[in-house]
Symmetry: C2
Subunit: 378 residues, 2 copies
């Protein structure tokens, strides 16, 4: 990709607010988004990319020629790539509740003139998808050729398929789950506790003052452990020391893995808002396709789906292990849906879906071509 531009769409100007799943309302709502490629005449070549917890709308390309780093999925989205921008019009939106351009707890509440902070209403995956739906409607797009995303983005993919079945031709949920396990909730809760234990968090009211940096850094460190795997950490760090040949017998980052985690924590506090972390992790914990749509049964939940699916899991992902993907595949198949499933053998844990991998590129390319061909979209 070459240069891209962040765009913003604001809707539901007061008093017409977005109705949230919790019963609360929110408005006006701004959705930040970016597009790559060209929308064709009948608007049938649209692919919606949905980002994970700490991602943003900047999926590919650069904002300026001087930019050092491209968007987060630049290896996948671009001319001739897995999601080929010579063929498709690719849209990525920043999720509701985030801090990367869309409305979130750090946004100004027009009614008070101050940041929402803890007064921001609880957001669910459904609410995120409803925000995206508003943008898609605004762009005059009636049908999405594909929705694709990993992790929390994969939850949005599933939500799209179940909530707006007539609008989705094909769906690629990657490294994701239909509902958080107790283990995944546990990690998120400890991470949230660590933010809320930081005195600078101040019940969420810290904008303009000292931020809960320590708490957020620790939350991120916890997250990073769950994104890797025992094997990847062994290969990457093992017991290697950081800039030392012998033990120093002091506290502090002595092993490389400690230094890596501290670096990840520090990098994160420069770009992410602690309250957004709280709201988005809670949305992920709440997500439960079976509860929301199936009266407890995943098979029931997928009964309303029409999309064809490519489900991808990673062998060393212990946050959303393969057995959870198989569970969703089974429920899809019971509804006679067109489902392909692939467990990619990879040692990099949950993070694997973000790493360049020709196997995923090939799977995505083939699946999208078939979806476009069979739906006569292109």
């Amino acid at each position: 990709m070459g240069l891209v531009e962040k765009q913003r769409f604001t809707f539901a100007q007061a008093p017409n607010k977005l109705a949230l799943e919790s019963g609360a309302t929110l408005g006006p709502v701004t959705i930040a988004y970016e597009t790559c490629g060209t929308l064709n005449k009948d608007k049938s070549n649209v692919i919606l990319v949905l980002h994970a917890l700490s991602g943003d709308a900047h999926m590919a390309g650069f904002y300026t020629p001087e930019d050092a780093k491209p968007g987060w999925w630049d290896t996948m989205v671009g001319p001739g790539k897995g999601i080929d921008t010579d063929i498709y019009f690719v849209v990525c939106t920043n999720i509701l509740g985030s801090c990367m351009g869309s409305t979130g707890p750090a946004s100004i509440n027009l009614e008070t003139g101050k940041e929402y902070a803890a007064a921001f209403p609880m957001i669910t995956i459904t609410d995120m998808v409803n925000g995206q739906k508003a943008l898609v409607d605004h762009l005059g797009i009636k049908k999405l050729l594909a929705v694709i995303g990993g992790s929390v983005g994969g939850m949005q993919v599933l939500e799209w398929c179940v909530r707006y079945p007539a609008m989705v031709t094909a769906a690629l949920p990657l490294a994701t789950t239909c509902r958080h396990s107790a283990l995944a909730i546990a990690f998120n809760e400890v991470a949230r506790q660590s933010i809320m234990a930081d005195p600078n968090w101040n019940q969420g009211d810290y904008y303009g003052g000292k931020k809960p940096d320590m708490g957020l850094a620790i939350a991120r460190m916890i997250g990073h452990i769950t994104y890797l795997s025992d094997e990847s950490m062994r290969l990457k760090f093992g017991r290697k020391l950081q800039n030392k040949s012998a033990l120093s017998f002091e506290f502090g980052a002595e092993f490389q893995v400690e230094s890596y985690l501290q670096y990840q924590g520090q990098k994160f506090i420069e770009r992410f808002d602690a309250n957004s972390f709280l709201y988005i992790t809670k949305a992920a914990d709440y997500f439960d396709l079976a509860r929301e749509y199936g009266q407890g049964s995943l098979v029931n939940a997928f009964a309303r789906c029409k999309a064809k699916f490519l489900v991808v899991s990673y062998s060393s992902d212990w946050l959303y292990p393969t057995y959870q993907s198989k569970e969703m595949v089974k429920a899809m198949k019971k509804n006679n849906l067109d489902v392909s499933f692939c467990e990619i053998d990879a040692q990099w844990g949950h993070d694997a879906f973000l790493l360049p991998d020709p196997r995923l590129d090939n799977l995505v390319t083939g699946f999208l071509r078939r979806a476009a061909h069979e739906s006569s979209a292109l």
Copy 2:
């Protein structure tokens, strides 16, 4: 077991201090310990039980008839139990650096009249074992029929076998490892960060003031996640809500697993010292049998061993997975040591070694009988 009594042994009165692995010295050193059973005439029926991170010397029985809870391994240690106190004289010591009677950072430094706090020297597994060795010598015991312990206790078992090979007839390292993986170090480091990020930690100097309770509670919550398993958490909690039938759309302990972790964190701060947590986890991270004794090779490390081994791992233990036990078994076998290995199929994760399990009881009973018989100890 009936009633037991906590005893204390203090040695190395100044200026004769304990020489630590780091090069520092510590003294006087007190070791708290408890015994069950009767020492036989030739002192050949001694079993040393070594506790894990947050344990203490109180392995079995009650202090008073009113005590609600027995010692931490009461299911294993007692008359007719796996470690049969009708036959064996069982000794358990509180590890150096802890806060349960042995010298640790919360102890008074006689030279200053104040708690050691952060001035407490770094402790290693070797130092812990040297403290135990001083007690064993003091009791006039020349040889241990068996050393047995799980997790960090298992590291001490291995250290005993390698450091004092002539003193150990049989050894049972349970649910343990010869060296922490990067994953295990990562969890410990994040837990330590969470304590040190608590403003009440105050560089370790909090005795007499507010304690870093929030940080320690979060550290314990992180620990507890690693002691369970995906499967055990699914069976125990799943996505069940705590005292609620519907989502409240509020932060706080809403899922049962969240409530459980918060409860564990709160319970822990009532009984454990945050600085002890820092020192003991660091000792566990430092432990590396291959580095200390084998010039990088586990096979070399076990070359000095004479003990017969029963190595036990648990199928769902992802903190010290079975492959790590197999690694140590392989190194033992290369030295032609008498080794039995058993992976117990259990869903309860690392914690399984502390839970009542007739399979472990039977393994331990049989192994100890054989060790006593073959060594003509009894």
